[in-house]
């Protein structure tokens, strides 16, 4: 069954090809069926592969399939091969599974759009690229997938490219990602120089054999460069600014690419390279600090935003911060676990917000919502599940994964990591319930025009919501403390350092047994506190937020304007670069370089038009050239030494 793995990649590619080439001529239904069918079949194969993997004994759960030799040049060799191990099989299940639901949802959501086939073509291409990213068995293939998802993200953010804000956001995403990709590419080159191979197996084997000293300079640089790539793709400080803007794309895209899958590529990459990262304690500290800082920072911005999708976007950045925090303290399993549960509930939340926006004919401002509960009940109920899940109330999925991260941060890291994480959790619970209340509860602030069209979404949108709600409810039980299925499943990938309890137990001695449960209680308490705050401020005394905003107007303004980071970046990087570019363009390029190039080209062209005159059309002349050439060659060969 494992041999089927290439089919997982093939189906979305076929879907892309069909919809891309002839999608314009097909009926809308057909386009949708093709796209969903491709991902559906891919999902089915992914399940088969998963069970195929389960049949193997845990320690030998790695399967590599060589497709072909791709590039060979000197000692550099890149084969195109796929690697199935617990980590990648889990990832392809998430990508194809959540992707399938989002594809179905898109049929309803994008129904009126004229770029229907283009949309599904991109979406299938994205799925293909993402699968390539996680399945590749070497860094180069991963990098190609990495770039390709970036491209698809660019295309889909700018899907409504007639809108200037959309095309600007797409450009921003692309350029900011490029900064990270630059680091990633350098990292890969350095890996090749250091290990003389770019195959995962080869690199990690060499690294784990102790050829590289722990904390050595090279490995620190490599991992820092790789992490630089991860900050770009996964929207961490300092490269997170593109993600909130990326909400200009269609909402299912935000759900699939900018919440569930693509942005987690950085986490996947670090988890994949755990062997390397474990060799560099310094990098690990950097990862953990950046992760924790991002978690808190983004959450604080989320507190005051009014655009429903932007709140979710900052929430995504913050949750990604959690995952990096987990990876940074060495708890890769916890990071990947949170990646999975986050994929469920964040996709659910985005799709739910999409359903709200759909119902309100495109309104995204929460100040113009409210009281939608009774109008769109299914959306409300599923949204509620997602909100509770992300807030971290047991037994919903988010609780288990977030709790585990906080526990790990405390046990392996230090109190500060935990405190920052816990504060971010408080913020999370608050802003999510603020969102829920502002959207669904209270008095309706919807303008009457949108009110007339208010309707619950069609079935093909609500069914994916329901399924995701079930997943957000139950997904956490895979990682239930003490009997964690996911720990056992992923342990071959992360070795003994990947997961928790036993280590935790040794570290904190006699309190061992009670610590996890204590933590659970504390984090539940934090979540409830956050929810109560939201209740207090938005239901009990609605005038409170305004008062607070006036009282702490400085902080409020700072938060509302996202700490002015965009403006700072503009002043520090964008504008100076623009100015220098303008100078280079006008002076260096247009005058110096173009002048030179045109001069040379003119010379060559003139030379050519003189030379062509030798082509007289007379056989006699041609024969003469032959004789002359012949004499020259003979003289040269015979007397030429």
């Amino acid at each position: 069954m494992l041999n089927l793995i290439s089919l997982v990649l093939l189906f979305p590619l076929i879907g892309t090809a069909i919809n891309g080439l002839i999608g314009k001529k097909l009926r809308k239904e057909t386009v949708g069926y093709i796209a969903c069918g491709a991902i559906g079949m891919s999902f089915f194969v992914a399940i088969l592969v998963f069970f195929g993997l389960l049949q193997l004994p845990p320690e030998s759960r790695v399967f590599e399939k060589q497709l072909f030799n791709w590039i060979e040049s000197g000692s550099f060799k890149a084969a195109a091969g796929l690697q199935v191990d617990p980590l990648s099989s889990l990832m392809i299940l998430i990508i194809t599974g959540v992707g399938f639901l989002i594809h179905i949802y898109s049929i309803g959501y994008m129904h009126h759009d004229k770029g229907y086939h283009r949309y599904f073509c991109y979406l299938n291409l994205f799925t293909f690229s993402m699968l390539l990213l996680v399945l590749g068995n070497n860094f180069l293939l991963m990098f190609i997938g990495w770039e390709a998802v970036g491209l698809c993200s660019y295309l889909l953010i700018g899907f409504w490219f007639e809108k200037k804000s959309a095309s600007d956001a797409a450009k921003k995403a692309f350029i900011v990602n490029r900064v990270g990709d630059f680091g990633f590419a350098l990292g890969i080159m350095l890996i090749f120089i250091t290990f003389d191979t770019i195959d995962f197996t080869g690199v990690f084997h060499a690294a784990s054999q102790g050829n590289i000293a722990v904390g050595s300079f090279t490995v620190t640089i490599i991992t820092l460069l790789l992490f630089m790539g991860a900050t770009g793709k996964s929207a961490q400080i300092p490269l997170y600014t593109w993600l909130p803007d990326a909400m200009e794309g269609p909402t299912p895209v935000s759900a699939l690419i900018h919440a569930a899958t693509m942005v987690t590529a950085g986490v996947y990459m670090i988890a994949r390279c755990n062997v390397l990262f474990m060799l560099s304690p310094f990098t690990m500290t950097v990862v953990a600090c950046i992760g924790a800082a991002t978690a808190l920072f983004a959450a604080s911005i989320g507190l005051v935003q009014n655009d429903i999708k932007r709140v979710l976007a900052y929430s995504t950045v913050s949750q990604l911060g959690y995952m990096f925090l987990a990876c940074g303290v060495g708890a890769f399993t916890a990071g990947v676990f949170h990646l999975m549960t986050h994929a469920f509930f964040k996709a659910l939340l985005f799709l739910g917000s999409g359903s709200v926006i759909h119902a309100l004919s495109g309104e995204q401002d929460m100040r113009k919502m409210g009281g939608l509960k009774k109008h769109i009940p299914i959306t409300y109920r599923t949204f509620l599940v997602g909100t509770v899940a992300i807030a971290g109330i047991p037994p919903f999925a988010g609780f288990f994964s977030k709790d585990e991260i906080l526990l790990e941060a405390f046990v392996r890291g230090n109190f500060i990591y935990w405190a920052v994480g816990a504060l971010a959790a408080l913020f999370t619970a608050f802003y999510m319930f603020r969102l829920l209340i502002m959207t669904f509860h209270g008095k309706s602030r919807v303008d009457h025009h949108a009110m007339e069209h208010l309707h619950e979404s069609p079935k093909n949108m609500t069914v994916p919501l329901k399924i995701l709600a079930v997943l957000a409810l139950l997904g956490g039980f895979l990682g239930i403390p003490g009997a964690s299925a996911i720990n056992g499943f992923l342990s071959p990938v992360f070795g003994e350092h990947g997961h928790v309890e036993t280590h935790g137990a040794e570290a904190c001695g006699s309190h061992a047994a009670c610590l996890p449960y204590l933590m659970m209680v504390i984090s539940t308490g934090i979540a409830i506190a956050g929810i109560y705050l939201a209740y207090l401020m938005y239901i009990k005394s609605p005038e409170l937020p305004k008062k607070l905003a006036e009282r702490f107007s400085l902080i409020y303004k700072l938060l509302l304007n996202k700490y002015y980071i965009d403006e700072i970046y503009d002043a520090l990087f964008v504008n100076p670069i623009k100015k220098i570019s303008l100078l280079l363009w006008k002076r260096v390029d247009a005058q110096l370089i173009d002048g030179t190039v045109n001069g040379v080209a003119g010379f060559v062209r003139g030379f050519g038009s003189v030379l062509r005159l030798s082509q007289t059309g007379y056989v006699r002349n041609y024969a003469f050239y032959i004789v002359a050439g012949c004499i020259f060659i003979i003289v040269f060969v015979v007397f030429g030494k």
Partner: protein, 100 residues
């Protein structure tokens, strides 16, 4: 005594005559004859070498060269006839529709 050198010099002279003929004549048929002259000059050298080396390969080569020359003559004359039918001349200096 006639040595191999004599034959080779003769062959070289005939070859040169052929080459010069191709370069200076205008009538396509005469040019073609000059080319035949070149080929046959080479044949002389082949036979002379074969005799000198006591090897049959050279003589064998001559037969094939003659065959090839015959085939070339057939095709070449046909081409010249085709040109003549369209243009009513075989002067190669009149043939330069295509140049530069």
């Amino acid at each position: 005594m006639i040595t191999i050198t004599h034959y080779l010099v003769l062959s070289a002279i005939l070859f040169m005559l052929g080459v010069v003929g191709v370069l200076i004549r205008r009538n396509a048929i005469v040019i073609f004859m000059c080319i035949e002259l070149m080929l046959n000059a080479v044949n002389i050298s082949f036979v002379a070498f074969a005799y000198h080396l006591h090897s049959m390969q050279g003589q064998m080569f001559v037969f094939f060269t003659m065959t090839v020359a015959a085939a070339e003559a057939a095709v070449g004359l046909a081409i010249i006839v085709a040109v003549f039918r369209n243009k009513e001349t075989v002067n190669i200096d009149d043939m330069n529709i295509m140049k530069w």
